[in-house]
Symmetry: D4
Amino acid sequence: GYATLDIQRERRKGFPEIIFGEGKSKEHLLGIFERLMKFHQKVFATRVDSEKASYLMATLKARYPEEHFQYRDDCHIFYWISQDYVETKKHGYIAVVSAGTSDVPIAEEAAVTAELLGCKVKRIYDVGVAGIHRLLDNIEMIERSSVVIVVAGMEGALASVVGGLVSKPVIAVPTSVGYGASFQGLSALLTMLNSCASGVSVVNIDNGFGAGYYAATIMAV
Amino acid sequence: GYATLDIQRERRKGFPEIIFGEGKSKEHLLGIFERLMKFHQKVFATRVDSEKASYLMATLKARYPEEHFQYRDDCHIFYWISQDYVETKKHGYIAVVSAGTSDVPIAEEAAVTAELLGCKVKRIYDVGVAGIHRLLDNIEMIERSSVVIVVAGMEGALASVVGGLVSKPVIAVPTSVGYGASFQGLSALLTMLNSCASGVSVVNIDNGFGAGYYAATIMAV
Amino acid sequence: GYATLDIQRERRKGFPEIIFGEGKSKEHLLGIFERLMKFHQKVFATRVDSEKASYLMATLKARYPEEHFQYRDDCHIFYWISQDYVETKKHGYIAVVSAGTSDVPIAEEAAVTAELLGCKVKRIYDVGVAGIHRLLDNIEMIERSSVVIVVAGMEGALASVVGGLVSKPVIAVPTSVGYGASFQGLSALLTMLNSCASGVSVVNIDNGFGAGYYAATIMAV
Amino acid sequence: GYATLDIQRERRKGFPEIIFGEGKSKEHLLGIFERLMKFHQKVFATRVDSEKASYLMATLKARYPEEHFQYRDDCHIFYWISQDYVETKKHGYIAVVSAGTSDVPIAEEAAVTAELLGCKVKRIYDVGVAGIHRLLDNIEMIERSSVVIVVAGMEGALASVVGGLVSKPVIAVPTSVGYGASFQGLSALLTMLNSCASGVSVVNIDNGFGAGYYAATIMAV
Amino acid sequence: GYATLDIQRERRKGFPEIIFGEGKSKEHLLGIFERLMKFHQKVFATRVDSEKASYLMATLKARYPEEHFQYRDDCHIFYWISQDYVETKKHGYIAVVSAGTSDVPIAEEAAVTAELLGCKVKRIYDVGVAGIHRLLDNIEMIERSSVVIVVAGMEGALASVVGGLVSKPVIAVPTSVGYGASFQGLSALLTMLNSCASGVSVVNIDNGFGAGYYAATIMAV
Amino acid sequence: GYATLDIQRERRKGFPEIIFGEGKSKEHLLGIFERLMKFHQKVFATRVDSEKASYLMATLKARYPEEHFQYRDDCHIFYWISQDYVETKKHGYIAVVSAGTSDVPIAEEAAVTAELLGCKVKRIYDVGVAGIHRLLDNIEMIERSSVVIVVAGMEGALASVVGGLVSKPVIAVPTSVGYGASFQGLSALLTMLNSCASGVSVVNIDNGFGAGYYAATIMAV
Amino acid sequence: GYATLDIQRERRKGFPEIIFGEGKSKEHLLGIFERLMKFHQKVFATRVDSEKASYLMATLKARYPEEHFQYRDDCHIFYWISQDYVETKKHGYIAVVSAGTSDVPIAEEAAVTAELLGCKVKRIYDVGVAGIHRLLDNIEMIERSSVVIVVAGMEGALASVVGGLVSKPVIAVPTSVGYGASFQGLSALLTMLNSCASGVSVVNIDNGFGAGYYAATIMAV
Amino acid sequence: GYATLDIQRERRKGFPEIIFGEGKSKEHLLGIFERLMKFHQKVFATRVDSEKASYLMATLKARYPEEHFQYRDDCHIFYWISQDYVETKKHGYIAVVSAGTSDVPIAEEAAVTAELLGCKVKRIYDVGVAGIHRLLDNIEMIERSSVVIVVAGMEGALASVVGGLVSKPVIAVPTSVGYGASFQGLSALLTMLNSCASGVSVVNIDNGFGAGYYAATIMAV
Ligand SMILES: Nc1ncnc2c1ncn2[C@@H]1O[C@H](COP(=O)(O)O)[C@@H](O)[C@H]1O
Ligand SMILES: Nc1ncnc2c1ncn2[C@@H]1O[C@H](COP(=O)(O)O)[C@@H](O)[C@H]1O
Ligand SMILES: Nc1ncnc2c1ncn2[C@@H]1O[C@H](COP(=O)(O)O)[C@@H](O)[C@H]1O
Ligand SMILES: Nc1ncnc2c1ncn2[C@@H]1O[C@H](COP(=O)(O)O)[C@@H](O)[C@H]1O
Ligand SMILES: [Mg+2]
Ligand SMILES: [Mg+2]
Ligand SMILES: [Mg+2]
Ligand SMILES: [Mg+2]
Ligand SMILES: [Mg+2]
Ligand SMILES: [Mg+2]
Ligand SMILES: [Mg+2]
Ligand SMILES: [Mg+2]
């Protein structure tokens, strides 16, 4: 068939398989979602556009009227948490910091992913280096976190600045926000890879999901 | 002057400033090294070639005959640990995994950095995907670590494979090992940024130092 | 005229000219298709979108009511096999392996091309390295094939892993599945070109057709 | 240790591990070479520069005075074939075609690799498209082969032309011969990936070894 | 104003200013077209899409009912030749050669431009290297021309092959036909810049206009 | 919230925060615009498409019927100047020079930005190097300015030529006008960065705003 | 001859022609230097390596024993100021800020160029964002300047941070300091072009000369 | 053997095969040179470094004491003209224009190539756009030529400017002169491909030979 589910992933990785919604037909998406529901208590898919989300919502609600499905249209995550699910929140929190307002959708993808994986999150948005006092005003709250996610487009300088100020591991997410020589996020990506401040690692352009997941992995160490 | 030392870094970041040895004259290197010795009990510099290392070694030994300096010529780190220094090793260990024999210098840069920052390290070298059973034979030791560093050049596939098998955060280090379309590490870098396995973050090409530092940051969470 | 058909290709290459459907007007496509029908018993076109396919289907059916035309909308191949055609299937089979569900359209382009060129095909889909046991479960069937086609996007690591496990020639097809630093398939392409496992060769990004054709060429050796 | 040998490779892949000589110290190279001699009857290393080769030659001759070692300085391959080894040459031959005289070193790397893997080879050198009659004069000998390797730098057009003329699988090797906008082989690489002729697959820039190996894999189908 | 016309260009360059239609509003286009009509007997604009063309046609016909305007929708050129214009055709002809059917629009842009600049043109289309006999069948007609324009996408090998066969200056036009690693014409561009055959110069990707103009410049030498 | 306004920017930078309209939802845009109106007497947003502009216009007019809002649809700037605002025009003027008619939208973005920041502007449009006398005719007016902005796409040569002729600082703005190997403005960007004439600095591709702002900064020195 | 001097440049540009020392033979360099001495009272050449400098020094001293020549080996500038020259220093000063110690050579090229063009300079070195308090400690001195030059390699974030804090025009100079994904300064270049802070313009990688010159041009407004 | 000479090239192309000296061993070079001497009256090789040139000179002089060999060390061309050779100079001349002094070696490669192919050449060097009057002073001599070669590095703007001023075909040669974002000639290459002036075609970076050859081809039309 078109899909070979990785049912053992929860055992191996601590978290079940999460569906990459982009480039899948809505029928395939539905098929995979339903099969995962058989094996897990929480299932979610990222990069689900609103059209596919409506289809999933309608079909799944019809088939599982008792169950609760959600679509976060600001970050394109579709998820289901079983009625039976009992959450055990991890200690500490993740700070999710964004440089601008335009980076918020990716920042939210990171934040919601981390929350779905059982972490607490604090959001500090639109504190980029063009007005650095906005960051400095929030630096204590960031330092008190366990892990920091920095989301920035254009030149992505915020990651280095945060990396220079806090002792916690910083996960940098370059975004495709910008134009011209930002080359769809390449500029921010290179900036973050070359950070002169230590303690910064990088995930793919616009990969809020990856950052949220990685932060949860660190919280679980 | 040519240098404005960041004496407060230890307070802010948990670790003192580490000197980037590349592109500095040997006199500048020496000057910075000595000044840092005044404020800290452990000082080290990365990317110090053997010529600069000899100069540092000779000059520093002459000036501080009581002190102990070391140069690791397999990974180009020069360091000093004060006689008075009392180490408190952190719990757990970091697994440093390399794909090939040619990646060992960068893997060692990561391992030695982490050790200098107070972490225990286990080395698993030359277990790339061309003979994947070599990795599978070692997978339990890797899973039992707290953080995993994967060092690989050429196509860098090892990072994804390890990422698919373990639950610990994986720090991927692309190396410039390879030729032709490896484009000095670009191929491995892109591979690692696009890992289909979750739980992988990336540092700069050949940045063993950054990976070792990042791992230590996670160990300190 | 707009087209100079290569009627002698079958004699030279073993297979007749196959039409590249992209960037041709539907009238040109039809004209070329019909002319090729005069000289061969099997004609097919790749990268035919559904609109052009409908036009071809309607027009050709009207003109050749006895003949049988087909459109595979999952991989955009339009073909005709003459009533008189007698197939002689080659010995052995080609294994077509895909990393994810999103790579299936390209994998199908490869599989259908190879079948139209007289080969048997076994499909092993969605067995990427994020859950490598899925591949290991199928490795014997892959090893028993004569040629292996590996289709993967994102970081494309599957090609190296398969290349490390089997003795058969592996044809790697990078796909444009992914986002950000996948750069429309560049990441997977570079990965595959730099495979540390030997026995891997590469075709263009999303070129399922080329891989299917190449496999058929090897089957004919 | 610095190396984890893949002794099972011969069982899995049909050929034992071949050493990648670049970026290894001469001591490591020697260590790996000797250990492989324990398990196989033929051992070889590619990309061994003349300095390392002299070291290997001197040391190994001293230790194994009965044995015969060879260094091919035109293509940088160092090898040993045990006295006991009995060759069984495969049927048919591989045609190795080069565009220019400057591509000969890579063409030889391909040819010698294939010969060491038990194949017969015919060489057709310096027949690039600037004087295409030189190719046409040799086309029958090329068509009668089982597999064709085409080695070309600069614009690499020869691969498409050969691909258009013969029915056998063509393995294209872009070389870094050229200057300016050849971008160290990128131009030839892209040419070959985009071949309008079918039946062409591609290996890394300057990867004569990979092409020779791949051809041997096809000969073994 | 938005435009500073270059009325002296005909005196300087031999041909009047030709309008680049892309990225101009239809009002600007019209304004410039009309003003040029005041100073010249032939005016034309390239890269005029069908919508702008309809607007120009309607408005100009209404204003100049005696005059004759033309739109070539296969190559997007809009032009006017004054009733009073007396053509003096240059001696000899330009051969316009295309690799595939999909390259015809750009080939026509070159051909029509050259014709509007007073040259004779012979068209030889779809004779790419996948079936090289098609080119060889036409090579005498190409050699008898004064200048050759070669239009090719994908790997663009045709330019080198023609360059190797004829003594006339070859103007190579890379097209954006292709996908994946053709990178919108980059592959063909690099191929043509690196031609191993001499006597080949190159214009921008998809720049049929530039090639036609350049050929006319040579015809005027 | 989604935005952390930088109210102190006027004190620090001399000009208040200017809104980057791209990639913000119209509600966010409105929210930010209104809040800035509380603190400043002039507010403007760049890269506001016509749809968002209509929404802003309608809503703001309804809420502040006394106030005057403007949308410049030729350069996508939306702005408000308080009734109470008293302008003090700076001495001297900025020359805004464009190479072609297609570069006018970006040139206008620069000119309008500079005007909103209190500067006088003279426009010299469509004087590119294809007809260099057009530039030479205007060179005195350009030299008499205090700062020069040069806006050019395609090969962007105009910046160097102006840089060679005048003594005033030249701010070069590459535009994405062009096709093929202009690579969306990369060609013009590299040209301008490599200017052989001194006294040229560069801003991002299509960044008319940045150039206008920078010119105003120089006017304020 | 090999050189056509631009004697009128001083009249046109305010400063005489400055020699680009790279890629010129030492004889050519000498010839040009001497001829310029005939027309101006100050002559200087950039990018003169120490070998060429010795040759110039020796030859010129022998020929003009009365005159004073200087070579700045930290930034590779060779210059002569006539005995008769009377300097009139411009009002105000330029702040030259460097991120790291390794950027000092380029920062000095900027500073010395500006000084030779009659400007006062203040140097603030090694105040990169890894320890941002070092910058904040100096921000008043920077703000009191007339123009700011920021020199930074690796990720180049310092330019944005300075741009966010001061009202003066910032000239950003990316340097090639770094390794891996810094791609010889590309990373810092893109960062600076995409600065989210306004008031930043950019010159070529390692172009300290260009920045110093540009600053002098602004000082002269 | 390592070379398959193209003896028929003179018949086909008007000029015999010219040897590409780069990347060939000196023995191969000699062998090819001698064999070509058997069939032609003029033989030359480009990109011959001084070491290979000495070897050729010594060996050939010894073997053919009657014959006259020459090495042009400013442009690395080695040639022989038979005593019996009778030149028939073509009508008209080629103008070779260089932007800077550093571009002279490539300009000379073009000039000498054209002369060896029987053309007259006029040289106009160091007339780049930084001081455009130097070009304007020479424009008549350029316009009176039959073909123009423009050689320029850095931003390469000179090609467009010349293209805008003359009616003759312009052959643009980008050079690798420059640093930083010139990317070894890429900047000049892109500039020239995107020339807003018509009548400009381009050859490879540093390909003076190709430009000289192409010009000779046009002279022969
Ligand atoms: N090998 C390395 N790669 C990247 N950054 C490094 C390396 N070694 C030291 N660093 C960092 O570089 C910075 C020092 O830069 P500098 O002031 O030039 O010595 C410090 O913040 C270190 O954390
Ligand atoms: N999907 C495809 N990708 C690459 N090449 C193709 C594809 N389909 C057909 N071709 C080849 O494209 C050539 C046809 O080009 P054309 O003359 O434009 O139809 C033939 O030589 C085919 O072998
Ligand atoms: N010239 C070469 N190019 C690419 N791969 C090679 C080459 N020579 C040997 N190899 C492969 O490199 C791998 C060995 O890597 P290593 O463990 O670093 O020696 C083996 O799997 C070989 O098949
Ligand atoms: N370091 C430098 N970087 C860039 N341009 C320079 C530099 N030094 C001098 N120049 C400029 O280079 C031009 C001289 O080029 P050339 O004719 O080759 O000497 C002059 O117009 C100078 O303004
Ligand atoms: Mg904001
Ligand atoms: Mg190994
Ligand atoms: Mg899956
Ligand atoms: Mg040859
Ligand atoms: Mg065709
Ligand atoms: Mg115009
Ligand atoms: Mg420092
Ligand atoms: Mg000069």
